[in-house]
C-alpha cells in the first residue's frame, strides 16, 4: 500500500515537473512574433502553383504594414505583369494595366485564393501578430527534420480571424514555426503549411520557403519562395493610396 502511494506521488511530481519544463504558450508566441512580424516589410517573392493541370510561377513585390495596409505589384508572367493590388483594412482594389481600370473588390474576397494558388489574400497581404489574435497552449514536444519543436494549440481570441484554431510546431531554438495546421471553427482542417529554408536575416530567423496546401482544393499545393525581404523600412505613405495603383 505504501509502495503504491509512493509511485503515485512520484508520477504526480514527474508530470508536474515535465509541464513545468514547458515555457508558457504566450511567451512562445511573443518570440515567434519577434521573428515573423515587423512594423512593415518589403518582399519580393515567387509563388509556384502546382495546379491539377500545370505548374505556374507568379512573381510579385509586396509592401506590407501590419494587417491593415499592403500594396502588391505582379512582376511576371506577362499576363499578370503590372497588375497591382491595394489593401486598406478590409477594402481591396485591383488595377489592371490592360484595362486601365481600378476596381474595388468585395471584402469577402480576402479569404479567396490569390491567382489560383493555395494562399488567400489574407495569407499573402497581411502580417498579423499571433499574440494579438490567439491564446496558446503548449501540448507536447516533437521533432521535425531533426529540430526539436514545441507543439502549440492556438485558439482565436475573436471570431473574425480566418483560422479559428491552429496547431503549430515551433523550433525550440529559433522560435520559428516549421509546420502549421490551420482549422476552421467547425474543426475542419483548411490548410497545411510547411516552412523551410530558415535563414537568419536582420537579427531574426525567418522562413524563406513556405508550402501551402489548401485541403479543399485539388493540386499539390503552392510553394511561396521569398527572393528578397526587408524589414522595418521607410515605406512612403502614398504607396498605400489608390493613386499609386495607376503609377
Amino acid at each position: 500500500m505504501r509502495n503504491v502511494l509512493n509511485i503515485k506521488i512520484i508520477l504526480f511530481l514527474s508530470i508536474t515537473f515535465a509541464y513545468a519544463q514547458y515555457p508558457s504558450g504566450k511567451s512562445i508566441l511573443e518570440k515567434i512574433d519577434q521573428n515573423m512580424s515587423s512594423t512593415n516589410r518589403i518582399v519580393t517573392s515567387k509563388m509556384i502553383i502546382h495546379g491539377s493541370r500545370n505548374i505556374r510561377t507568379i512573381e510579385s513585390r509586396s509592401w506590407v504594414q501590419g494587417t491593415d495596409k499592403s500594396f502588391t505589384e505582379y512582376l511576371s508572367p506577362v499576363r499578370e505583369k503590372g497588375t497591382k493590388m491595394l489593401k486598406l483594412e478590409d477594402n481591396l482594389w485591383m488595377y489592371s494595366p490592360s484595362t486601365d481600370r481600378t476596381i474595388q473588390i468585395s471584402g469577402h474576397m480576402l479569404r479567396q485564393s490569390v491567382m489560383g494558388s493555395d494562399l488567400s489574400y489574407e495569407d499573402m497581404l497581411e502580417d498579423p501578430k499571433m499574440e494579438n489574435n490567439y491564446d496558446a497552449e503548449v501540448l507536447s514536444e516533437e521533432t521535425i527534420d531533426e529540430r526539436s519543436c514545441w507543439v502549440l494549440l492556438l485558439t482565436a481570441k475573436n471570431a473574425d480571424v480566418a483560422y479559428q484554431t491552429r496547431k503549430i510546431w515551433v523550433d525550440q531554438e529559433r522560435y520559428v514555426p516549421l509546420k502549421e495546421e490551420l482549422f476552421a471553427k467547425s474543426g475542419k482542417l483548411l490548410k497545411r503549411l510547411t516552412l523551410s529554408n530558415i535563414t537568419e536575416i536582420e537579427g531574426r530567423w525567418f522562413p524563406f520557403e513556405m508550402t501551402f496546401k489548401d485541403m479543399l482544393k485539388t493540386g499539390e499545393g503552392t510553394k511561396f519562395v521569398i527572393k528578397e525581404i526587408q524589414f522595418d523600412k521607410n515605406i512612403p505613405a502614398y504607396l498605400f493610396s489608390k493613386a499609386a495603383l495607376r503609377k
Binding site: I49, G51, S52, R53, N54, R56, I58, R79, E80, T83, M94, S96, S98, T99, D100, R101, T102, I103, Q104, I105, S113, M115, G116, S117, K242
Partner: protein
C-alpha cells in the same frame, strides 16, 4: 338496334345528360392537362437544349461531376481538334463550343473607378463567325430589346434587367471581373452593343452574351471551352439516337482513369431532366388512373340512379321475355355511346382551352424571379396528336365500368316478382 340505342340516348335526356356531362368534364380536364404538361415539358426541354444541355454535351469528366458549379478550371483543352474529329465521326450533327462563366460587371466613373457593379452570368458563344448557327439557335435577334448585335470583337449583349440596374447606355464600356481557367483574377473591358430578354428568368436576371473568342482571351482559355454541345440537324431531340451517340463517343474518346478526358452526356442525363420527365409521365399515369376510378364510381352511382328511374322499363323488358344478358349487353353498348359522346364533347372543349393557352400563354415570370431552372417565363400548352384521342381512353373506360357495375342489378331481379313489382 344501334339506331334504337342512339335514339334512346338523344330522346331520353334524363338517361344520358348527366353521364355525358360528367364524362365531358373529366375528358376535358384530361385533354387540357395533357396538352399543358406536354407544352410545359416540351418548352422546358427545348429551352434547356438551346441554352444549356444541347441534344448531347461533351465536357471533361471532372467538369461533368461538378457541372452545376460551372468549374471552368476543369474545362476541355484542345477543343478545336476534338471538334474536327467530331465532324468526321458524326457528320450529321452540328457541334458548337460554349463557355459558361460567372463574374462581375463593373461600370467606371469619370475617374475610371467603380461606379456600379452587378453579378453577371456569362455565356460565350460563336457570335461573329459567318457560319455561326448560335444567333438563330438562341433566338438572340428576336431577344434583342435595345441596340444591335455585336459586330466586332469586344462587344457584348447584356440582359435588359442588368442594363437598367447598372444605369448603362448603349455603347458604354464595362469591365468584366472574373477568374481565368487557372484561377487568376482577370479584368477585361467590353462595350455594350445591345440588351436582350430571352423570356427565361434564369438568363434574364444577369446574362452577358459574349463572343467565344473574346471569352477565351479574357479567361485565359486558348483552345479551351467548358462545353461542346451537339445538335441533331433537324433540331429535334431523339433520345435513342442520343444514347447511341454517347455510347459510341465515350467508348472511343473517353478514359475513365483520366479526369480531364472528354465525356458525352445526352440531354436527358443533364440538369436532372430525366427524373423530371419520368416524374411527369408517372403523374400523368396516376392522374388518368385516379380519373378513371373516380369517374367510374360517379357513373356507377349515376347508373344506379338511372337503374332506379328505369326500374319499370327494365322490369317490363324482362317480363316480356328479354334475356337478362342481352339487356345487360345493350346497356353496356349504350354506355359506350354515352362515353363516346361525352369524350367527343370533352375533347373539343379541352382542345379549345388548350389552344387558347397555346396561343396566348400564361405569364408566370413574376413567380420565376429567383428560379435557377432553365424554363420559360410564359407557359404554353402544346396540342399534339395524342391530345385528340387520349381523353377517349378514360372517358370510355369510366362509363363502361360504371354501367357494368350498376347493371349487375339486372341479374338480381326475380322474374316471379316482376308483375308484383310492376303493379306498384
Amino acid at each position: 338496334m344501334i339506331t334504337f340505342i342512339i335514339k334512346g340516348i338523344f330522346r331520353d335526356k334524363h338517361r344520358s345528360l348527366f353521364p355525358v356531362i360528367i364524362v365531358a368534364i373529366g375528358v376535358m380536364l384530361t385533354v387540357f392537362l395533357h396538352c399543358y404538361i406536354t407544352g410545359f415539358m416540351g418548352n422546358m426541354v427545348d429551352t434547356n437544349a438551346r441554352f444549356s444541355t444541347g441534344h448531347v454535351k461533351i465536357m471533361s469528366r471532372a467538369y461533368a461531376e461538378n457541372a452545376d458549379q460551372i468549374p471552368i478550371d476543369l474545362a476541355l483543352i484542345g477543343v478545336d481538334e476534338l471538334i474536327s474529329n467530331l465532324k468526321i465521326e458524326f457528320p450529321d450533327m452540328i457541334w458548337v463550343k460554349r463557355i459558361r462563366f460567372g463574374g462581375l460587371l463593373d461600370v467606371p466613373d469619370e475617374k475610371s473607378e467603380t461606379k456600379a457593379q452587378g453579378a453577371a452570368m456569362g455565356l460565350a458563344v460563336d457570335l461573329l463567325s459567318e457560319k455561326s448557327t448560335e444567333i438563330e439557335r438562341l433566338n438572340i435577334a428576336k431577344a434583342l430589346i435595345q441596340g444591335s448585335l455585336p459586330k466586332k470583337r469586344g462587344e457584348i449583349l447584356i440582359s435588359d434587367e442588368l442594363f437598367s440596374k447598372l444605369d448603362l447606355k448603349i455603347g458604354d464600356s464595362v469591365t468584366l471581373l472574373s477568374s481565368t481557367m487557372y484561377g487568376s483574377m482577370t479584368l477585361q473591358n467590353f462595350v455594350v452593343s445591345g440588351t436582350i430578354v430571352f423570356g427565361v428568368a434564369a438568363m434574364d436576371r444577369g446574362a452577358m452574351i459574349v463572343d467565344i473568342t473574346d471569352a477565351q482571351a479574357a479567361l485565359d482559355m486558348t483552345d479551351a471551352a467548358g462545353e461542346i454541345l451537339g445538335y441533331f440537324a433537324n433540331d429535334i431531340y431523339d433520345d435513342e439516337k442520343a444514347s447511341k451517340l454517347a455510347q459510341i463517343f465515350n467508348k472511343k474518346f473517353s478514359d475513365e482513369h483520366n479526369r480531364f478526358s472528354p465525356v458525352m452526356q445526352k440531354l436527358r442525363d443533364q440538369n436532372e431532366l430525366a427524373s423530371m420527365l419520368d416524374y411527369v409521365s408517372v403523374m400523368i399515369g396516376i392522374f388518368i388512373s385516379v380519373f378513371v376510378l373516380v369517374m367510374s364510381m360517379v357513373l356507377w352511382n349515376a347508373g344506379l340512379i338511372g337503374g332506379l328511374r328505369r326500374f319499370g322499363e327494365i322490369g317490363v323488358r324482362l317480363a316480356i321475355g328479354e334475356d337478362k344478358g342481352h339487356l345487360y349487353r345493350l346497356m353496356i353498348v349504350e354506355s359506350i355511346f354515352v362515353g363516346l359522346i361525352g369524350s367527343v364533347f370533352g375533347t373539343i372543349i379541352g382542345l379549345g382551352f388548350s389552344y387558347i393557352l397555346q396561343t396566348k400563354g400564361l405569364d408566370v415570370g413574376e413567380y420565376m424571379k429567383d428560379a435557377t431552372l432553365m424554363m420559360p417565363n410564359v407557359l404554353r400548352a402544346n396540342i399534339t396528336t395524342p391530345a385528340y384521342f387520349i381523353g377517349f381512353i378514360p372517358g370510355l373506360i369510366a362509363t363502361v365500368l360504371g354501367t357494368a357495375l350498376s347493371g349487375i342489378g339486372i341479374y338480381k331481379r326475380q322474374t316471379a316478382q316482376l308483375f308484383k313489382e310492376l303493379e306498384v
